[in-house]
Assembly symmetry: none
Homo-oligomer: 209 residues x 4
DNA sequence: CATGAATGAGTTTTCATTCAT
DNA sequence: TATGAATGAAAACTCATTCAT
């Protein structure tokens, strides 16, 4: 209470460190399991067991499983955004920008196929529940960011500015879908970076009849 | 068992017709519900209620819910294949072929966003279970078909023939992912066919730097 | 559906009878267990086991445990009201009416001590939840009925008409509390009816200094 | 264990004072919460938070939650006894004695409705457990005391001496039940002391037909 | 001593599936 | 064959209690 607490256990004590470590491991293992087994099949008990903590510990970090997934989605998209955003700074021509944004997404999802899996699964969160809304909004926010970045480029390529979000969606969905569907099919995981770039070109030359 | 009395009205009697009608309605409503609420949230009870039949009836048509989903996936992909296959017959140049295959997929998923939803959800079927294997194989078969169709075109576009499945995957994932992610975000559903075609071109010109 | 259903399984078929029987047994056993062990300690699993049905069956009859308790309270108070109401019809003098209402309550709770237990426990239902509200309202309705019946008599005994509910509360609480607290103490259960009547008189003469 | 070093500042040092203060606050807040939300719904965490101490501190004062409730009940009944006992000293006529005992209980529970709540809830402690036994015994002891006090008066009022405990029970249950049931119904809390006395008389004249 | 993070046994509740009618 | 009532395995989540700091 009003005790002067001279020794100050502080919020950065070793206790808090352990705690944060547990949270990180839960996130990591949870993401892995969700990607491997699907959202519904990844039980909280499995996740905690994989992270080496008790079942109850999970719920001291997140109030519900859905909240956990929302949080995971946020982490993943934040991480993704960190790699995408720099592209908006150095000015280049329209086609390069679009190709680069696409490439960054592809590479990101190749390195972290669990991220692709999560994004595609998160939409199946309890429909109508707050977590589903949160997930939808978070994904929408990412698209907004990408859209803002590529809208001018899209316009030069003949795409209406008002539909920029759909162009962004196409870029993200291509990359995410590729590695999400590819995972269980054993496709994409071993595709070399060089080919990944050429995939865009091949797809591009094909689409642009 | 089926008591084959000679006076019995053939197996195509009105009984069978009713039965087949029920199956069709179950498939339709089930697909709708899975797309709207997700695989796990779409309860068998909901599906039968929507189809206007008793809960038990469901299990006279499919042995398990997973089998139902597998069947649904098969129906959807068979339907999709029916529209894709003709493109392989009339010979055109490489770029047009790729663009056309992509366009057919996009249009199909725009008209039937539930199909896109199903394909993305089906991979989340209880991993390790036979239904998950079946779903993976079925999707793989579709990719094989598309790959066989576009492999030569891909080669002309500079894409290694051995990696044709990945090119096919990119085409399918772009289309499916676009409408699967777009659904909850309210994107794509109202995009006019003309723009849909230009989406490919814009994306293409962008990717092909 | 639109099938003429000539054989009409009817809602009064043997199936429904079994079902209603199960509900009755669940109510009975549930009431017993709640009285014996308390609301929180009476697990749904115990109740279903005692009633000889599967755990899941419980939830086909009531959506939640709280709803079950609300329903039980309603049954009990309806039963009680059936015995109290007739007293309001035959006109008697004030003191006799009050004594009779009190006596009916006492006898009712002596015969069904579980009812007394339930009434006292029901107020501990998840506070703020709808079941708690329902229980409070239901009990209030019973008091309203008793109050309406004894208000004139109370007035003759010098009790303000506006406070009739409090007089009713005193009558009900005396009887309910007596057998609720008496139960675990081993008091009251074996008190003969004749003494029960004299209890009122003794208490009465004592209180009326 | 308690390291009895001679230089230690007596067991009544400021440390002990703080400790005792915490215990008192825990008791007060615990009683409030149990009365407001019910025994099961009043979590240890809520109680400690309300008392402004850490969760672990609770268990340095009482070994279990049940022990805490037992202790609370003991405190409450001891407090009540302190006000009831004096009535047994000054000799009065039978009716006055009964009325006074009743009045003291009523006033006590009006001032401390949480006490009424606690007494009615304590019986719902895990049946079979030692805490439930303790609570039952403690309540029985209170009844014994009241019974010893009013047995002669009861006899004069025509109540068999052997049943004195039941008469005591009736007095206590009336008062306790009135404010316990009245609480959630919004009854009794604002009833003026003067009316409270008349309640006994009205009830009494009614019961004593 | 005081603390609060960790724990897991125990509860309610869900829902695919079975099966008597 | 169609039905829907019954079932119980399984899952999320709660919370009293422990114990390292």
């Amino acid at each position: 209470m009003e005790r002067p607490t001279p020794t100050e256990p502080a919020p950065t004590g070793p206790r808090q460190q352990r705690r944060r470590l547990a949270a990180r491991r839960l996130s990591e293992e949870g993401l892995k399991l969700i990607a491997r087994q699907g959202l519904a099949a990844a039980k909280v008990a499995d996740i905690t067991a994989a992270a080496g903590v008790g079942k109850g510990t999970f719920f001291t970090h997140w109030p519900t499983k859905d909240a956990f997934v929302s949080d995971l989605l946020d982490q993943v998209l934040t991480d993704l955004a960190r790699r995408v955003r720099p592209l908006g700074l150095a000015p280049t021509d329209a086609e390069t920008l679009v190709a680069d944004v696409s490439a960054v997404h592809l590479r990101f999802f190749q390195l972290r196929p669990e991220a692709a899996a999560l994004i595609n699964q998160a939409l199946a969160l309890d429909t109508g529940g707050p977590a589903h809304q949160a997930a939808t909004q978070r994904l929408g926010a990412h698209l907004d960011m990408v859209a803002a970045m590529i809208a001018p480029a899209g316009e030069q390529l003949g795409w209406p500015r008002k539909r920029a979000r759909e162009l962004a969606l196409a870029l993200v969905a291509t990359a995410g879908g590729f590695f999400w569907l590819g995972g269980p099919l054993g496709l994409g995981a071993d595709i070399p970076l060089e080919l990944l770039d050429r995939l865009g070109r091949a797809l591009g030359r094909g689409l642009a009849r």
